[in-house]
């Protein structure tokens, strides 16, 4: 969970890390009053769950309360990278001598926590470090030893600050490490960490992320500080996504959801996790126009598959369907088939006349195939690769759209294509003679 700057700073404050004077406001009037309290001049900072807000115009200097009011009004209306600005932090202006960078995160390869420090703080830190990696110093931490004073000393010494500032920096380093461990942060970053002209170390900005999987032991005390759990999606879910989520939450068994709206014409019932990624990749690589992404796995009950299939089939713009799953060892092929067929029947769709490419294999596959056969759906088993199934579906949609261009109604086009894609000719045309022979044999 990513924290807002003002929330991150609440944590830094709790750990005694020096911060600028600041006031959180939600209206232009409050902003004007806050600027007055801070001496008539202040920084106005958008509170938003994304980076790059400075470059997007979300950070401005107000030279008077009136200006603060005007700027706040503008900033509160902004969306940055699709994220809404929820509040504004009015902050004292700092007399900056140097901008430093300090962060604590995980190193996946060393499998330890790592701290980074640099004198190249500010928005362009990545570019600077890419050009000159020696500008950053790295220190790794054995979790059983944790922070030791000499490590903070080594890190601070890399920057060669004046004595008092060096001491203050060592203290900030140790405190940030302790915060990171105590709060299960995947990232605790202070950028810039400012050395002021009068020699003080102050955290001017902060970015903290708390591990979602550790929320079970963090949520309660975060709530106690007024920090609430939140989804980290950049945009509001669409109606389709909301309904899909509701459907998935209706039963704790398995997954039939994680839907993302793509607005295209090929409906997708795909899975599981890696299987969805692989299938979806292939659809896009073959130039397909998917209506949605989703994941089906972990052995969901029929009703969840049914709910998802119904949403996908009735989604505006959907003209055909791809059902494609990796070989299941625990999810049941027959339950997925039952869910899809039931959705079709409920929507008044005759499965035998609807354009669908169906690929499924694994547990209870024979039972699944029996259901599909009964309703006249052409299916493929494990001999057909997932990307090959995607290719068939993309070509199927092209045929439907061609027929529509010829002046046929969607229903006519769907009916004709539904029959044609069951022929050997179609499979040969799309996948070549050799593959077609192999995947069709005995079906």
């Amino acid at each position: 969970m990513r924290l807002y700057e003002y929330e991150s700073k609440m944590l830094l404050e709790k750990y005694g890390i020096p911060l600028p004077k600041r006031i959180l406001v939600k209206t232009p009037e409050e902003a004007a009053k806050a600027v007055e309290e801070l001496g008539g001049k202040a920084v106005i900072k958008a509170q938003v769950l994304t980076g790059g807000r400075g470059k997007a115009g979300g950070i401005k200097i107000a030279n008077s309360p009136e200006e603060a009011k005007k700027l706040t009004e503008e900033i509160l209306k902004m969306k940055i990278n699709d994220f809404p600005v929820v509040a504004v932090l009015v902050e004292e202006l700092l007399n900056i001598d140097k901008e430093l960078f300090l962060a604590c995160t995980y190193d996946e390869v060393a499998k330890q926590r790592i701290m980074l420090i640099s004198d190249a703080g500010g928005v362009d830190i990545n570019e600077v470090v890419e050009k000159d990696p020696s500008r950053v110093y790295r220190e790794w931490f054995n979790p059983f030893y944790g922070m030791m004073a000499f490590k903070a000393k080594k890190m601070a010494d890399f920057l060669k600050l004046p004595k008092d500032a060096d001491r203050a920096l060592q203290s900030v380093i140790m405190r940030l490490y302790n915060l990171a461990v105590d709060y299960d942060t995947t990232l605790a970053e202070i950028n810039p960490l400012v050395l002021t002209k009068d020699g003080k170390i102050v955290a001017a900005d902060a970015h903290i992320e708390i591990e979602d999987d550790a929320m079970y032991r963090q949520q309660q005390r975060l709530e106690g500080m007024g920090i609430h759990d939140r989804p980290s999606t950049p945009r509001e879910p669409t109606e389709f996504e909301k309904l899909a989520e509701e459907n998935d939450m209706s039963d704790h068994r398995g997954v039939a959801g994680r839907a993302i709206d793509f607005g295209g014409s090929l409906g997708c019932i795909i899975g599981a996790g890696g299987g969805s990624l692989t299938t979806f990749d292939a659809i896009l690589r073959y130039g397909g126009n998917p209506a949605n992404y989703c994941e089906v796995g972990g052995n969901p009950p029929v009703k969840k598959v049914y709910g998802l299939a119904k949403l996908v089939l009735s989604k505006p713009g959907v003209k055909g369907l791809l059902v494609c799953h990796n070989v299941y060892s625990n999810s049941r092929v027959d339950l997925v088939a039952r869910g899809v067929i039931k959705a079709m029947l409920d929507l008044g769709i005759n499965p035998a006349e609807y354009p669908v490419v169906y690929r499924g294999a694994g547990a209870f596959e024979e039972d699944g195939y029996a259901i599909l056969r009964k309703y006249g759906v052409r299916y493929y088993d494990r001999r057909l690769g997932m990307d090959q199934a995607a290719k068939l579906a993309v070509e199927m949609l092209k045929l439907i759209e061609e027929k529509e261009k010829e002046g046929k109604s969607l229903e006519e086009a769907q009916k004709e294509v539904a029959q044609y894609i069951k022929t050997e000719e179609f499979v040969k045309k799309v996948l070549g003679e050799e593959v077609a022979k192999k995947v069709l044999e005995g079906l």
Binding site: R2, T50, G51, D82, F101, A103, T105, Y106, D107, E108, V109, K111, Q112, L116, N126, P133, V136, N142, P143, F144, D184, T186, L187, E189, H207, E209, E211, D213, A214, Y216, R217, T233, P234, R235, G271, A272, G273, G274, G275, L277, T278, F280, D281, A282, L284, R285, G297, N326, V327, Y328, S329, N330, A361, G362, A363, R382, G385, M386, D387, Q388
Partner: protein
């Protein structure tokens, strides 16, 4: 002798009385794996599919010479369960549990390192040496497992459990069997990354080629590429990375620090480039794995 496990491996299942653990214990036994004991605190004396349950791993090791553990306990108890196993002398721990916080994961990995033990996972569906033994839930019931996994010359390492079975199934239908298949785990920090398993595959006489199934995020594939470049690897490696479209999706956010730590962004295109650069054969489509394998194995 198989890689990591074989028919002589003696397995203890921690959390054996749980629903999932009980069912994969049955699958493991049926496949021929020697599951010699289970552990669930407070349930000593019980039996699960004929396997005796103890309160501690120590008792399981003392009474049954267990040398390998499969851990399937709730996330908050996982770290302690893994360390208990290692403390009792277990050399290989396969962690099935997912959603274990990273600060717990680094502690259990450090503990393993300090004691010379190996961890697979967390969030690993398991490993299999076809025809000999398997750990945890990989492949499901024996009938399904046998359809997907067949003995042969190719080692498969995968970050996705489901796609490992899919990949091996596709290989098997095309007449290419596996010397071993290891689901390294889907989490960002895991006990055994691709490059850390490579030395085992290098010295295994039965392994003639390696297949890697990668995913977006982390630098597992980039690190593998660096390792091959630096240390060399004498057998052909074929890789497929799922989820390339994620590169273009909004909401893929990384803090400055994450990028600075690795100097890499974890993008699928970046991974493919790094692997190609190290001489790995990269498949753009999943079924291309077969085409590439047939070439390197000189099959028709």
């Amino acid at each position: 002798m198989g890689i990591l496990i074989d028919e002589n491996t003696r397995v203890v299942v921690q959390g054996i009385t749980g629903r999932e653990a009980a069912s994969f214990t049955e699958w493991m036994l049926d496949y021929g794996t020697k599951v010699v004991a289970g552990v669930t605190p407070g349930k000593e004396g019980m039996k699960v599919h004929g396997v005796p349950v103890y309160n501690t791993v120590k008792a399981a090791v003392e009474n049954h010479d267990a040398n390998t553990s499969v851990v399937s306990v709730p996330p908050r108890f996982t770290k302690d369960a893994v360390m208990e196993a290692i403390d009792a002398g277990i050399e290989l721990v396969s962690v099935f549990t997912e959603r274990v916080p990273r600060s717990d994961v680094i502690e259990m990995i450090q503990f393993a390192k300090d004691h010379g033990a190996r961890i697979i996972g967390p969030n690993s569906l398991g490993s299999i040496v076809p025809g000999k033994a398997k750990l945890a839930a990989i492949g499901g019931p024996t009938e399904e497992t046998n359809k997907a996994y067949t003995p042969g010359p190719v080692a498969v390492l995968s970050r996705s459990g489901g796609m490992m079975t899919e990949t091996c199934s596709l290989m098997s239908v095309n007449g290419i069997g596996q010397s071993v298949a290891i689901n390294v785990g889907g989490d960002p920090i895991i006990g055994s990354m691709f490059h850390e398993l490579l030395p085992l595959l290098e010295k295994d006489p039965e392994t003639r080629a390696v297949v890697i199934y990668g995913e977006p995020g982390t630098v597992a594939e980039e690190t593998l590429a660096d390792y091959i470049k630096e240390h060399g690897f004498s057998k052909p490696v074929v890789a497929f990375i799922g989820g390339g479209f994620v590169d273009k999706m909004p909401g893929q956010r990384f803090g400055h620090a994450a990028v600075i730590v690795t100097g890499k962004k974890g993008s699928v295109e970046g991974k493919k480039e790094a692997l190609r650069d190290a001489g790995v054969l990269v498949a753009d489509y999943h079924s291309e794995i077969i085409t590439l394998l047939k070439e390197v194995l000189k099959m028709k």
